[in-house]
């Protein structure tokens, strides 16, 4: 296992500025989701990814069109990184007909299948075998696609994690296991319930899978690490485990004030906010503050327009309650 060092190799400023803007769109979307929740326009629950943007955006940046992603209930950032618009995401959260899942999925199930983002799953760890299966399928169809599963530190303690890593290793499949270690499973510090310091990376070797620890708040570092893993995967060298250390700015879900956090922890992580990190990298690459601000303003405008459009959209179509069970579009269960 090697510690990845941040590098800007192969990263040009224009590309990084695009990543920065996507991260800003995610950040604004999460803020909007939070505010809309507070004002009663989003119901149910949400799990916001503010603070973790760099993992999704870096990973997508390293991958190709057609590569598959599987995400969790904390999956807004993955959906947007894979091309879902802020509008279709927010509309989904607001139970609108224009939502990406027609209001049938909600925050926990954002999906953008058209660009390979094959769903957000709300049973912890359940999607890991699916990603293994998508990678197996790529191999069977002799494409050079890879599949990536994003999951939390807490997910590494569930049985499906173990079965997935073993099967992926035995079959040498082109799958990337990307753990977003944000230090907590809900309200419980991950270290108190896990027999490994780095829950994903420390376990990978026992499956013969190479692992890398990566700074999950550094979009460039993530992109580089995922690029290396994807290259191995496409070369037929099998799966990789990446563990990205990161932090969520909000509580676990909308009902969580996160009072279990030690004092100062959030503040320390805010200093390494992924958007701050990438802004600094941009400056180091010679991008002007004006250009950075312009990207951020563009992101803000995108999300503002998205909020307005989502608000204005019609509510979910009641007839949709009885569609999409079967591939024929219907829900008939008897003859």
């Amino acid at each position: 296992m090697t510690d990845a060092t941040t590098t800007t190799t192969g990263t040009d400023a224009a590309k990084l500025l695009r990543r920065h803007e996507t991260m800003a769109v995610i950040r604004r979307t999460e803020k909007a989701a939070h505010d809309l929740f507070m004002s009663g326009l989003v119901k149910g629950t949400t799990h916001l990814a503010a603070g973790q943007e760099a993992v999704a955006v870096g990973a997508r940046g390293a991958l190709r069109d057609g590569d598959y992603a599987f995400a969790t209930y904390r999956g807004h950032h993955h959906a947007i990184a894979w091309g879902a618009t802020a509008e279709e995401c927010l509309a989904e959260l607001m139970s609108k007909a224009t939502g990406s899942c027609k209001g049938k999925g909600g925050s926990m199930h954002l999906t953008k299948a058209a660009s390979g983002m094959l769903g957000s799953y709300a049973i912890v760890g359940a999607h890991l075998p699916m990603a293994v299966g998508a990678a197996w399928s790529a191999r069977l169809r002799a494409t050079d696609q890879v599949a990536v599963a994003f999951f939390g530190d807490g997910a590494t303690n569930i049985g499906a994690f173990h079965e997935s890593l073993n099967l992926a290793a035995v079959w040498k499949l082109p799958v990337l296991f990307v753990c977003e270690n944000n230090l907590y499973m809900e309200y419980t510090p991950i270290g108190t319930v896990t027999a490994a310091a780095n829950p994903a990376a420390d376990r990978a070797p026992s499956y013969g899978i190479p692992a890398e620890l990566v700074d999950g708040n550094d979009v460039v570092a993530v992109e580089d690490a995922v690029a290396r893993a994807a290259e191995r995967a496409r070369a037929g060298d099998g799966p990789t485990v990446l563990e990205a250390r990161t932090y969520r700015h909000y509580g676990h879900s909308r009902t969580d004030p996160a009072s279990y956090r030690p004092e100062g922890e959030l503040e320390r992580w805010l200093e390494r906010d992924p958007l701050t990190v990438s802004a600094n990298q941009l400056r180091a690459l010679g991008t002007s503050d004006d250009d950075i601000r312009a990207a951020e303003e563009s992101a803000a405008a995108t999300v503002e327009a998205a909020v307005d459009a989502a608000k204005a959209a019609p509510g979910a179509d009641l007839a949709e309650a009885f569609t999409d069970v079967w591939a024929d579009g219907g829900a008939e269960w008897r003859t």
Binding site: G44, S95, G103, G105, I158, E186, Y187, T188, L318, F322
Partner: protein, 323 residues
């Protein structure tokens, strides 16, 4: 008045005070008090040797509870959302309910698996299911599903004291509901339905969330001159078919209201017992107001389309009394 939510912790605490062998385990149930705040206070009162936070390992949680139950403890395991019972279904379906029988009675498994069940809160397809019908497919499990705060405490006492394994369904949609607190020493036996309202025209059978719904429907029906018996089953297993048959004897009409999907729903078992044993009592078809045979949608307007509502119960009963 107290809430259904608070009654969960109260019911557990009363038993933990009585009996040292009662211990709790589950995800975030300790200092955090559980994601639904249904274990608030237990960690403070009983400490980390009686209230155990676990990793996200549903199989280990329920499997360890089973091993502990076989060796002298009375574990109370929390599976956060009942949908996640699927992650440890082997224990509920194949291990816990069978080990006593298949060892010829050599072991007993006095444990409780508590779980937050049901919809109505907009949690979507994987966090909203009513899965008490899953449990009903498995001989060897007892199944409780209270509808009031006092019943939460009273049925919890029976569940924890039971030498048989119990799946205890706490309805998410009822957590905030209020009712009279349970008196001291309150114990509600299993297999004893509550007749909550007496009528002559129709029997409405409900469980957990569908009990208040049936009561509201009965109020509305009364305004229209239709008098309903409302029966709260309280437990699915043992199933109090005697109370149902007794009521149908008076009313000649049966409507079962259940949140789980129609296909494979527990209401079908109730109806089939009445079809076998109460056929002569019936003046009309039996009816089931059940969840639609679709996954649960996120949007509340859509969810209302597919789970039982007061309107659906009222309409069904009215059509039936006109039969």
């Amino acid at each position: 008045m107290t809430t259904y939510r608070e009654s969960v912790a109260e019911g557990i605490a009363r038993e933990m005070r009585r009996d040292d062998t009662v211990v709790c385990l589950g995800e975030d149930i300790g200092a955090a008090g559980g994601v639904f705040k249904t274990t608030v206070g237990l960690f403070d009162e009983f400490g980390p040797e009686r209230v155990w936070d676990t990793p996200i390992s549903e199989q280990a949680i329920v499997g360890a509870a089973m091993g502990a139950a076989m060796t002298g403890m009375r574990p109370v395991a929390e599976i956060m959302f009942s949908d996640f019972l699927a992650c440890c279904w082997d224990y509920l379906a194949n291990e816990i309910p069978k080990v006593r029988y298949m060892t010829g009675g050599q072991v007993t498994v006095p444990l409780v698996v508590r779980t937050a069940n049901g919809g109505g809160l907009g949690f979507g397809a994987q966090h909203s299911q009513s899965v008490e019908n899953w449990a009903l497919t498995v001989p060897g499990l007892k199944i409780a599903a209270p509808s009031t705060p006092a019943d939460v405490v009273g049925l919890m006492a029976t569940a924890i004291r039971s030498d048989d394994p119990v799946v205890f369904f706490e309805h998410k949609g009822l957590f905030a509901s209020k009712g009279a607190p349970a008196p001291d020493g309150h114990v509600v036996p299993f297999g004893q339905a509550a007749l909550l309202r007496e009528g002559t025209d129709v029997t409405i059978v409900g469980l957990a969330s569908t009990v208040p719904l049936a009561l509201t429907a009965a109020d509305r029906l009364a305004e229209q001159g239709v008098q309903a018996d409302v029966v709260d089953l309280r437990t699915l297993l043992p199933l109090d078919v005697s109370s149902v048959l007794r009521s149908v004897e008076r009313t000649s009409r049966l409507v079962v209201v259940e949140e789980n999907p129609y296909q494979g729903g527990w209401g079908a078992t109730v109806v089939s017992v009445v079809a076998e044993e109460g056929f002569a009592l019936l003046d009309a078809p039996m009816r089931r107001v059940a969840g639609a045979n679709v996954p649960l949608p996120f949007a509340d307007a859509l969810e209302d389309q597919v789970i039982p509502t007061v309107d659906k119960v009222v309409d069904t009963v009215k059509a039936l009394v006109d039969y």
